[in-house]
Amino acid sequence: MEKILEVKDLAVSFKTFFGEVEAVRGISFEVGKKETVAIVGESGCGKSVTANSIMQLLPMPPAFFKNGEILFNGENLLSKSEKEMQNIRGNHIAMIFQDPMTSLNPTMKVGKQIVEGLIKHHGLKHHDAKKKAIEMLDLVAVPQPEKRIEQYPHEFSGGMRQRVMIALAMISDPQLLIADEPTTALDVTVQAQILDLMKSLQERLDMSIILITHDLGVVADTSDKVVVMYAGQIVEQGLTDEIFKETAHPYTQKLLASVPRLDMNRDEALLSIEGTPPDLYIPPKGCAFYDRCDKAMKICKDNMPGFTEHSATHASRCWLNHPMAKTNEGSGI
């Protein structure tokens, strides 16, 4: 498959008063054309930092890139100037956020915001841009678009604002859409609408999507590939089916077992992951999940496991994959 984005060995740190916080510690993944890649993990695992690194929206300082490259259509984004990045952000990669108000101007009519974007990106005449803006609101299923373009963002509900933000992101016909927890603040019925909308836009516009979420249900619903992050690292990645059915890493296994499912028996115990993720002020020397892992072995404490490939698309970072681990009980994966 044609690759659109390749992240290679990316490491991002933040300089803080106490010292360096290693938010992202060497991650690599790829996004193919028309593919949806979900990045899953808990708060603080580095998933949003990764997204903001691609867009280069991190405040620098305190953030800085320690290592790695981000190749978009073969070009390294990290070596681009701010001006070139602006062009890329405007025309090739778009981003939507959990809170739509971060990208909407509260003092400007919704229509005008879209119209200005259209004029800027496509050089349309005002009249044509307005017609196109109505079409775009229609595209994202905002009812009565002729009336709605004359309204201000605060007159829209949460779900409708999210739609407007998606419309704004679509102005430039991006090749890649980064969606950072786009449905977390929404109610389930509205979440279903937005996810549906994203899927249909993807098909129509041939877009790739990076979906950042903590909701495994959303992942199963929308993504082709899944990247599981923990404490700044990727612990497992693979096709969605591989992640859900041939789960390799103990963290992914526990994460899946800790969410109640509608299809689950109520008497089944909910597995809980005791403790909290490590503080990345002092990243652990060995496996970051050691403290919370039931299957931890002596080797895990001080030695960082490397990736083991389970298939061409599926890899995990765990010492249980080591041939010698098989001789011990409790190693069955």
Partner: protein, 314 residues
Amino acid sequence: MKADLDFRPEMFEVADKTDLNVDKIRRPSIKFWPDVWRRLKMNKLAMLGLTLIIAMIVMAFIGVKLSGYTYFEQNLKLRNTHPNMEFWFGTDELGRDMFTRVWYGARYSLAIGVIAAFIDFVIGITYGGIAGISSRRVDAIMMRVAEVIYSIPYLLIVILLSVVLTQEGGGSSMFVLILAMSLTGWVPMAILVRGQVLQLKESEYSLASESLGATKSWILKKHIFPNTLGPILVNVTLTIPRAIFAEATLGFLGLGLQAPMSSLGTLANDGLAGLAVGNAYQIIIPAIFISLIMFSFNVLGDGLRDALDPRLRK
């Protein structure tokens, strides 16, 4: 997999994690105020301000005794002596030692600032606190009253008061000055406190306390008041220089303290005459001290605000 590791079967035994306490907090515990102090200490400018304030307060007490002259002792033979080894800051047009007079003036300026700020603090907290916990109607009435009071220029009040309460020989007493400034000065504090109370009254921990059966006064005492202390402290720190400056302005306009008492403002006023005849030091020196006081309190206040800001924590 790493190649440089020498794998042995025992490395793959189940790890012994009996000592592991997943809920252990590794970072040391820091109490709120020590933490604020720690962050304040990191702010060099604020610390400079604090040092200057302490130095000036100390000098306001002992500085008046150092030169061996008193603030009222006139020596007409030594009029307008420029600063020298004998008179460190020179003498004024009546031959009084400026060094002693500056510290004497600083003492009054600081006293006026601190007392005015304290009165603002007491009235402001009481008034704002009552408005904040009262019903919406009472609150609205109290705030309108406060706004009306605040709209009266304090200069007008000072002039009126000094006409009514004036002493012989012109000038105002310290009492009149403080009274005039406090009459309107408490309003910003009251508005601040009211806003804080309104906000904290709705906070989840106040609600939690209510659900536990707490009374209004309990919530005010245990939850609202301790959490408003920070912003109030910043406000007090910034009120002091405002009061000092207001007094200095009045003094400069001739409405300040009555001679032979002096504040930095009246000293500057006295020195104004010297400016024309080549004795600029008579105005420059008090002006420098006014600026220093203003500077010190303002940077300290700003520093405190930053140190107290929860968003800048960690």
